[in-house]
Symmetry: C2
Subunit: 116 residues, 2 copies
């Protein structure tokens, strides 16, 4: 299941203590949110199979959905070509956003599609 | 096409000069890459309809694909619930990654799928 040596996780934190983690829902093929992981939260995610982030605003670990029930079961995780972003493929229970929206990305800035 | 007042772009840069921008391919439903935009690169993206980023390593504007031909035509852009991440939905020409990979996310860290 874990496809990397735990000692090798350091390479994701060479540019800083936090790495952005994109959460993508594998069934609906939707980008849900972006949050940040430090090494310990990445370890907790790998060990539990559910997403753990570091909350920059609250300065604490954050097990996504622990309070709301909107857990994210991890299907797979990939690092990018230069080891400074993670893609976390999940199965989302309920909604991802604290506003009640399924995805956090709902503020339209630009759209070429006339009917939207 | 542009669904926001240009003066209102400031809200995306309150936490810092750079905002992470997730690039998602709308036809293949694939997360391609993450790069960073400053306000000027977001403006260039909105004005041209193709992605412009700020390269942190080279400290310069970066019109994705201008050299390689692997341009990203923007379909839509959404800001997230707290205005600190952008989702850029694109149509990718060729591949997104400088390694020749379609997506930058190919380094497997974790996988629950037995056959992968």
């Amino acid at each position: 299941m874990i496809k990397i040596e735990m000692n090798d996780l350091d390479k994701f934190f060479e540019k800083g203590e936090l790495i952005p983690a994109i959460c993508y829902e594998v069934n609906t093929k939707t980008v849900l949110m972006l949050a940040y992981m430090n090494k310990e939260s990445l370890k907790k995610t790998l060990e539990t199979g559910y997403t753990w982030f570091w909350s920059r605003s609250r300065q604490e670990y954050w097990n996504k959905g622990a309070t709301s029930g909107h857990l994210q079961k991890v299907v797979s995780i990939y690092g990018d070509c230069d080891n400074d972003t993670l893609l976390v493929n999940v199965e989302q229970t309920g909604v991802a956003c604290h506003t009640g929206s399924y995805s956090c990305f709902f503020n339209e800035i630009y759209n070429t599609e006339e009917n939207e």
